[in-house]
């Protein structure tokens, strides 16, 4: 079973101070730490687990700057066999990314394509399902369990409120992977050092037949901090004082 996994290098913004670029079109990224998109990590581990069960190879593909090689190396250390880095277009949107990925993946042998449900940064949640349509393949999104049998993937999709849906998708197919499908594993330094020896193939956009390099559907005009609605009353003082105030609030509000 040959599996292609699409991955993205994203800035980790959860605990970072965020500033907006002068042109107002994006956040400043030079002080941010970048890493593998959380969802994509689950997709890579799932692909590697399927490979261990059924044989075949796992190829990871990323569109990104040279630094994207770091996340591809991490994927190789997690057990992927080969890596492709595709040149990043000057500006893009989810639809263009899906088009570029389709061009790169066409040349690879595959039975299954995995992506994350969405990216932590722009959160379109669009690329995997669009990619399936471009390649003429069936898909299932928000997948949290995969079983392969008789050329089909029996998958569970996560719905709302704890409900799940069991369905069957004919292979080859695209599945978008939800966090929690498997357990994060520690990636050792020696595995990373070993992975650095493996080749990451670099591909230019024209090399894979991409001539249109502009966003296809959407353009970000401006980014801004969300309007501050009702802000919490921040309790001030030493930890003891703060806890004192908090205890009073809890007493009062518990009624």
């Amino acid at each position: 079973m040959n599996i292609v996994v699409c991955v993205k290098r994203v800035p980790k913004t959860a605990e970072a101070d965020i500033f907006i670029e002068k042109d107002g079109k994006d956040i400043k990224k030079d002080n941010l730490v970048f890493a593998l998109n959380d969802w994509d990590g689950y997709a890579v581990r799932e692909a590697v687990a399927l490979k261990e069960k059924f044989g075949g190879e796992v190829v990871v593909v990323s569109i990104g700057p040279e630094e994207a090689k770091e996340v591809l190396t991490r994927c190789l250390a997690m057990g992927a066999d080969r890596a492709l880095r595709i040149e990043e277009p000057p500006s893009s949107d989810a639809c263009l990314i899906a088009q570029i990925l389709s061009q790169a993946i066409k040349t690879q042998p595959f039975d299954l394509i995995l992506t994350g449900v969405q990216a932590e940064d722009d959160g379109w949640g669009q690329v995997g399902v669009a990619l399936a349509q471009i390649l003429g393949l069936p898909h299932a999104s928000i997948v949290n369990r995969i079983e392969i049998e008789d050329g089909k993937a029996k998958v569970k999709r996560e719905l709302e409120g704890g409900l799940e849906e069991l369905l069957e998708v004919k292979l080859p197919a695209v599945l978008t992977i939800q966090t929690g499908i498997n357990e994060p594993k520690y990636v050792s330094l020696s595995a990373i050092l070993e992975a650095e020896e493996k080749e990451t193939k670099e591909l230019g956009l024209e090399e894979i037949g991409v001539t249109h390099k502009e966003p296809l559907h959407t353009t970000i005009e401006q980014v801004s901090f969300p309007p501050v609605g009702k802000m919490a009353e921040i309790l001030k003082g030493s930890p003891e004082e703060v806890v004192g105030q908090l205890t009073e609030i809890i007493k009062k509000k518990k009624g």
């Binding site: 722009d122 928000i142 609605g229």
Partner: protein, 325 residues
């Protein structure tokens, strides 16, 4: 001019809230564009739902087909692309939900209509559609413009727009001939799997001590359990905690977990992603403890402590011990 379409989301015989929220938004957009709003209802035996909708919109288009009983993106897409080419709507609204996320991106490629997903704001400016999206984990909003097109598709974030209540309208219910040619074997719905009913029910708790990824690791869980116990409450968590197996799924507050409305909700190390906030903002009092003063959780909380939980929780835990709160 083409109309604005809302794709009705329903599951297990019930219309989902996002549908009414999209009707609320769609009506404003239809007024702006001086056109009308139509609800698209795909399913089987959906008469009751059609009647409910007809009191809120001017027209309900119904495709009744046994193959549309349960959601299947392949069959829904077939029916929708046929309706789109017949009616040429200027905009189709779909929920940004497990249902819409499985459908909108492929439909957009097939119909060649530009798509913008997960919108928290949407309007027309001249002939172009514009949207507001929340990006970088809710830290920044982006205003997005779509390229000029005869029609658009937008998926709408649940819980953002005011729902359209039952109204006085007497919208027409129009039965469409089903464009489907039978079932499909590429993608088959098998069954729904309900969440198992287990031990403690967090939806019944009066006080929830809810922990997020910011607590750093599972080694701190016992301390929060003790705090919950001392407060006469229950421990809950956000999604990353379940993904990392620090607590079981039944403890999860969020869109894919449980919706809670306790008297007091204490969020510790939870940044406040909308998937979480949507499911706890109905709590009577919300207290947030987070070391990041810009964490979105502080804009839903009533009271906040900006500090490392390690400086606060041990003191709080002891202070409330044995007290009748």
């Amino acid at each position: 001019m083409g109309e604005i379409f809302v794709l009705v989301e329903h599951r297990q015989g019930k219309i989902r809230d996002i549908t009414y929220e999209m009707i609320g938004l769609g009506e404003n957009l239809a007024n702006q564009k001086r056109t009308s709003l139509t609800a698209l209802l795909l399913g089987q035996d959906v008469k009751t739902m059609a009647e409910d909708l007809s009191s809120r919109v001017s027209k309900v288009l119904v495709v009744d087909d046994e193959n549309l009983r349960n959601f299947n993106s392949v069959l829904y897409q077939q029916a929708l692309s046929s309706l789109i080419s017949k009616y040429q709507p200027i905009l189709l609204l779909i929920g940004h939900s497990a249902f819409g996320m499985d459908l909108a991106p492929s439909l957009s490629i097939e119909t060649d209509l530009p798509l913008v997903t997960d919108c928290i704001g949407l309007w027309f400016e001249n002939e172009k559609l514009k949207a507001i999206r929340s990006i970088y984990g809710g830290k920044v909003n982006a205003s997005v413009s779509l390229k000029e097109s005869r029609g658009y598709i937008a998926t709408i974030r649940p819980g953002v727009f005011a729902p359209k209540p039952v109204g006085e309208k007497k919208g027409a219910i129009i039965m469409e001939h089903s464009p489907l040619k039978g079932a499909t074997d590429i993608k088959k719905f098998i069954e729904y799997i309900e969440a198992p009913i287990t031990g403690e029910d967090i939806t019944q708790a009066e006080i929830l001590v809810s922990v997020g990824q910011g607590i750093g690791g599972p080694e701190h869980i016992p301390m929060f359990e003790e705090l919950a116990k001392n407060l006469g409450g229950t421990i809950a968590c956000s999604r990353p905690v379940v993904d990392r197996n620090w607590l079981p799924k039944e403890r999860q507050v969020g869109i894919s977990g449980k919706t809670v409305k306790p008297k007091i909700y204490i969020a510790i190390g939870i940044s406040g992603a909308f998937q979480h906030v949507t499911a706890m903002q109905g709590s009577e009092t919300i207290i947030a403890i987070n070391k990041d003063p810009r964490a979105p959780i502080f804009s839903v909380a009533d009271y906040g402590i900006v500090d490392d939980f390690k400086n606060v929780i041990p003191i709080l835990k002891e202070k409330v011990k044995g007290q009748t709160l």
